[in-house]
């Protein structure tokens, strides 16, 4: 089987290479580009740990061939921190609100939340929960993930997150 040439922009950097057509995007990112932030969880399109941003869409990179991403612009968790190295509002939110325990789902959660907040800058709790329905977390029970996203949404709007009384 002839290899295919792919060229894409990953975290602002142009990359190109030869891949077998069956190479999944997650393997291209992790094994060819050494970007091991996107995780392989279930490998069956369920868990969302491999979520990356592809041309302004959240996709599960275990269910996209690298050849389908030819010409695309990809952002992974490695591309989220600010240029000065300080944390992105979502990363800060997950830290401040204890949005993770083991951390395995976190890169996918943050990438999905990133696109959600691009589309809905001031989401309701229900919109957040519906928006991250394709990402599974087995530690947190989601409560603090929702708060982390609310924290980031407030910060990105220039506001301070006021946690609702429980």
């Amino acid at each position: 089987m002839a290899k295919a040439h792919v060229k894409m922009t990953v975290n602002g950097r142009e990359v190109e290479g030869l891949v077998e057509p069956r190479t999944l995007l997650i393997h291209y990112l992790r094994e060819h580009l050494n970007l091991t932030g996107p995780h392989i969880g279930c490998d069956t399109t369920h868990c969302g740990a491999c979520t990356v941003d592809m041309d302004s869409k959240s996709v599960k990179s275990c269910t996209v061939f690298a050849v389908q991403a030819d010409g695309a612009s990809i952002t992974t968790i490695e591309g989220m921190a600010n240029p000065d190295g300080s944390l992105h509002a979502l990363q800060e939110g997950f830290r401040m609100m204890h949005g993770l325990q083991c951390g395995f789902c976190t890169p996918g959660m943050i990438m999905r939340a990133h696109r959600l907040l691009q589309e809905i800058p001031n989401p309701t709790e229900e919109q957040i929960r519906f928006g991250i329905a394709g990402n599974l977390c087995r530690c947190t029970g989601y409560q603090n993930i929702v708060k982390a996203i609310q924290y980031a949404a407030a910060k990105l709007r220039g506001e301070t997150f006021a946690e609702a009384a429980e």
């Binding site: 089987m1 002839a2 069956r22 869409k57 269910t63």
Partner: protein
């Protein structure tokens, strides 16, 4: 899991795609969003030697309305469909069903053409298209033809699509203003296929159901039009005897598989309830 090796093709036009399909006939598969096909290839349930990626064909995108005709390009993603006021205002059942498919990531790249052409009884759009009496535009080596959704599905993964054809668009006659619609889906969790689901499109005149179409998802080896169930409610205001008759008639055409979603008896039971809920919701939304 990594799929078995294949040769990859990315045609730029429908003609190129159908020529490739003609050349490789039985050993090729069309890749649209890939959200069903790639998992199947990982599990070796599909082993195409040639993969024809239609993602680069601009003609397959887009949603247009002219008069009462709505045409949805086959490569339109669920996400794009949801963003289209043209489509979702003309037939709101498209939005209701689309939001119940899989999860956000899958909806960003999963296509409506893939959903209708796949032939899996668990896909949601075939029943919706049966309710709307939509037609699929099929293009192949011998030209273009149109097949009604109601005639398209022959069995699980078996459809009217010929080996050298692709679905290029879905054509819908827009239901009348004031029509009622609903798609009710019982599922175990987000992302799951339906345990049982039912779609309804109806019109109401002087407080009574004037026209009605009911279709079922994942309750037989294909999506099914429940014709007798629809007849049972026409001319009624959905009083209990009419609803009971509709549920009974719908259950009579169900033959769900026994799987992790439940036994055939259970799925048939809840299938009837999905019909009842969809009818009530559609009726409450209708004007007339």
């Amino acid at each position: 899991m990594i799929p078995a090796p294949f040769s990859y093709h990315r045609p730029k036009t429908v003609a190129e795609a159908t020529a490739l399909l003609h050349s490789y006939a039985e050993v090729a598969r069309v890749l649209a969003g890939g959200q069903s096909l790639i998992p199947m290839m990982k599990l070796r349930l599909a082993n195409p030697e040639h993969l024809i990626d239609i993602g680069g064909i601009a003609d397959l995108k887009g949603i247009d309305r002219a008069g009462d005709k709505l045409v949805i390009g086959a490569a339109t993603t669920q996400h794009e469909l949801q963003q289209s006021k043209t489509a979702t205002e003309a037939a709101p059942i498209l939005m209701e069903a689309s939001l119940l498919i899989a999860d956000p990531q899958v909806r960003y790249i999963g296509t409506i053409g893939g959903n209708v052409a796949n032939g899996d009884p668990g896909n949601d759009m075939p029943a919706v298209m049966m309710c709307l009496d939509a037609s699929y535009r099929l293009v192949g080596g011998s030209g273009t033809r149109s097949v009604k959704a109601r005639d398209f599905y022959h069995g699980t993964y078996t459809t009217a699509l010929r080996p050298d054809e692709i679905v290029t668009a879905i054509e819908i006659t827009v239901p009348p203003a004031g029509h009622g619609w609903a798609y009710e889906k019982l599922k175990r969790k987000i992302g799951d296929y339906a345990t049982a689901a039912a779609g309804v499109v109806l019109t109401v005149s002087r407080g009574k159901v004037a026209t009605c179409a009911i279709a079922l998802s994942n309750l037989s080896d294909t999506a099914v039009l429940a014709t007798d169930a629809a007849k049972a409610v026409i001319g009624t205001a959905l009083e209990k005897p009419a609803l009971d008759a509709a549920m009974q008639a719908a259950r009579a055409v169900m033959s769900p598989a026994s799987d992790t979603r439940g036994t055939p008896d259970y799925r048939t039971h809840v299938g009837g309830i999905m019909v009842e809920r969809a009818l009530k919701k559609a009726f409450s939304r209708a004007k007339g």
